[in-house]
């Protein structure tokens, strides 16, 4: 049998320090403690990798300049009116009932502090680190979700899950979190397992990875009730969401994963519709899987590294921009509205005369969600979780 200690690890950075890991023993003890350290609220963070075009998701059709900037991308008649000014992309139309019920909202013209270079890789680093521009991208050793866990006493690994094949740097750090990937299999005899443990004993990186692999393999993959005709990518997403809802219904309070497919430099119309369909499917399946009670105490935040250019480019797509959209869904969210100050689309109102101007820091919205759900002090959020952030006034994101 696998030693329980091996289940628990700080993702990533623990590699060189696990032997002297300050949390290992305390957390192992905390497992027998029945109280949930974070209370009942669930926070699910989805990173939309590749820079989602917020102006296509939530279209400012009330702005007369929008149609001119997007001659081929506008969805015209198919667009779903939200509030008379903004319209929802038709491929997200399945979410309209959530909007109507007040369980879906959007923050427009928001961004991380990242500016100018418009590199996906640096943009994602900063988004996941949750730091400001005073720190070089990639220099942060932990992510903001992990730092939130670090300030909660009695945290255990089961509280937070990073899901999927990609790394989830948001959850990396010294606080314990678990990792789950959809297609891990490992079939070993007891004797080979013992010998493998023996040869990995002195190498922290290999010991932890292999021990967790053996533990995860023992845990198995949930039986998916795959719908016929659903493509592999969506089936994969379903498996991941089903695993997440299963855990969130129990002890888990935090889940993080990512969706890619947003870097729509060309033929955006078709490409983004597929990505929206995936995002919509994930949200609806989370709602269904969690059930009314848990969904009522859940916030799903979907955020991206930056937005895209206001004007379409030469190939019916958009290039890297600045401000974009954050999606907030769940019964804990005060939705039914497009939040954030709208900067306008006149050339003088744009960032660098090409991108939507950021009017808020996306970290502030995440911070207010944490404050609203878990009661964190502003000082903790502006100091430990998002160092240097100014949260501003409470936007009332959480009910």
């Amino acid at each position: 049998m696998i030693d329980r200690r091996f289940f628990i690890r700080g993702l990533g950075v623990a590699a060189c320090s696990a032997a002297a890991h300050p949390f290992l023993s305390t957390v192992t003890l905390a497992q027998s403690d029945g109280a949930a350290p974070l209370g009942d609220h669930r926070l699910i963070v989805i990173i939309l990798r590749g820079a989602m075009d917020g102006l296509d998701a939530v279209q400012p059709v009330g702005d007369a300049l929008f149609a001119a900037a997007r001659p081929t991308l506008g969805t015209g008649a198919g667009m779903i009116d939200l509030d008379g000014y903004f319209g929802l992309h038709p491929a997200l139309g399945g979410l309209k009932p959530l909007w109507d019920a007040g369980a879906l909202g959007f923050v427009h013209a928001t961004s991380t502090p990242y500016r100018d270079k418009r590199s996906h890789f640096d943009g994602q680093d900063l988004l996941e680190a949750g730091t400001g521009t005073d720190m070089a991208p990639g220099a942060a050793r932990d992510g903001w979700l992990n730092r939130m866990l670090q300030v909660v006493p009695g945290m255990r690994a089961e509280t937070a899950y990073a899901l999927g094949r990609d790394a989830q740097p948001m959850l990396e750090g010294v606080a314990p979190a678990r990792l789950w990937t959809p297609d891990l299999t490992l079939d070993l005899s007891a004797q080979s397992q013992l010998l493998l443990e023996h040869i990995y004993h002195d190498d922290d990186l290999f010991r932890e990875a292999a021990s967790e692999a053996m533990a995860l393999a023992a845990q198995g993959v949930p039986e998916g009730d795959a719908e016929p005709g659903v493509n592999v990518r969506l089936r994969d997403l379903d498996t991941l969401v089903d695993f997440a809802t299963g855990r969130l219904a129990q002890e888990t309070r935090i889940a993080a994963f990512s969706l890619s497919g947003w870097d729509t430099h060309r033929g955006q119309g078709r490409a983004i519709a597929q990505s929206f369909a995936g995002l919509q499917r994930v949200i609806l399946r989370l709602q269904a899987g969690l059930g009314a009670d848990v969904w009522g105490r859940t916030s799903v935040l979907a955020m991206t590294e930056f937005g895209r250019t206001v004007r379409e480019n030469g190939s019916n797509g958009t290039d890297h921009g600045t401000a974009g959209v954050m999606l907030a869904a769940g019964g804990a969210v005060r939705g039914g509205r497009v939040m954030g100050a709208w900067p306008g689309l006149a050339e003088a109102d744009l960032y660098d005369r090409r991108d939507l101007m950021p009017t808020s820091d996306v970290r502030a919205w995440a911070a207010w969600a944490m404050a609203g759900m878990y009661g964190f002090d502003r000082g903790v959020l502006e100091g430990a979780v998002f160092p240097g952030l100014q949260m501003g006034d409470d936007p009332g994101l959480i009910l």
Partner: protein
Amino acid sequence: MTPTLAAIRFGYGLPVGPDAPGDAGTLLALLAGPDTAVDLWPSITMAEVAPVWLVAATARRAARQSEAAKRDFRKALRAVQDQTFLAMRANIARALGSPDTMRERLVRFWADHFTTEAINRHEGALPAVMAEDAIRPHVTGRFADMLRAVTLHPAMLLYLDQVRSVGPGSTVGLRRDLGLNENLAREVMELHTLGVGGSYRQDDVRQAAELLTGLTANAKDGFFFDPDMAEPGPETVLGITYDGVALAPVHALLDDLAVHPETARHLARKLAVHFVSDAPDEGMIAAMAEAYLAADGQLMPLYRAMLSHPAAWAPDAQKARQPYDFIVAALRALGMTPEAAMGMNRKRVAGMVLGSLRAMGQDWGRPGGPDGWEEAAEAWINPQGMAARITWAMTQPAELGALPDPRAMVGRVLAERASERLIWAVNAAEDQRDGVGLILASPEFNRR
């Protein structure tokens, strides 16, 4: 110690033949000599790929018309896949058969530096043929020549959307109201040359994008310059104004970027991270960048500065072998000959190599972005990656035939790097299969 490190850190591991390099001097001497592997184990070249690409592109357009046309398209795609499989066999055969394994590692390094993916299946052979035609001939030459060859290659022009970028003031741009696509211009500066920390600004990206208009490619003609797509007039990038017609200003920009001091540091760091350590010695990087600039962008002095630095020979194996390197090193350890590699059937390439790479997290040809594969050991040695490596180590060797005696194999494959723990475990294994599996799954084998 040094010969073992030369083989595992700069090559594909042990055992090696008597003609293998054992130190910096012999590694460099082989690199300075001719590329002998290229003809001994031939891969695919554009001359072979172009007609297959054209047939597949044509069949793709016709495929909607009838069931018969659809079958033709599938057949054409199979021919494309045959070419990618042949390229994979040749990669492995060269890595197993050539004593000059550092050259093979360098080809993979630069192919990753200039990552491309085939967006459509009928373009599937383009990334491999770019490595063969645009990268391989230049790995010991001048970086600017590689940069030119890659930037003008159909694989790159298609992958980073350059074929869709039209000068807004060009004939085509004005007639059809089309415009720029910044993708290639940005990545040339961010990934291929200066690095993301470089001193370029958005205006430089824009100007470079205008300058690159006209570079295009299709299945019928391969690469060509289309003057009707090119933005007229001069462009200014990083303070230098480029003017002229056709390819001259493109070549001039790429040549300048190639020898920019920021490019030197970016390339030096990437090379050091790939070969030596995830956190390489800063003094080694500085020495490498300096040697590169002093030699006006020649790559051999860059390699020489790395291999001459003591940090390159630090006994600690800090890097994890990427899955491809793991599989090639395992095949070498199991005694596969280059002839056997060239003779692998489709099932073996698809399963033992490509399917296994996917399971280990390295879905060949699909790194997921133009920044290529991850370097950090943690990116590969994670639960899923380890599960797949252990599974490969325990199951695949037996597929190749008679298993070696693990007690002799451990010394042959790891020499003095085998730990007491590993030697004990290999001797305690209940059968040969587990013993061989333990060697290949061990930290010693997976680090370099």
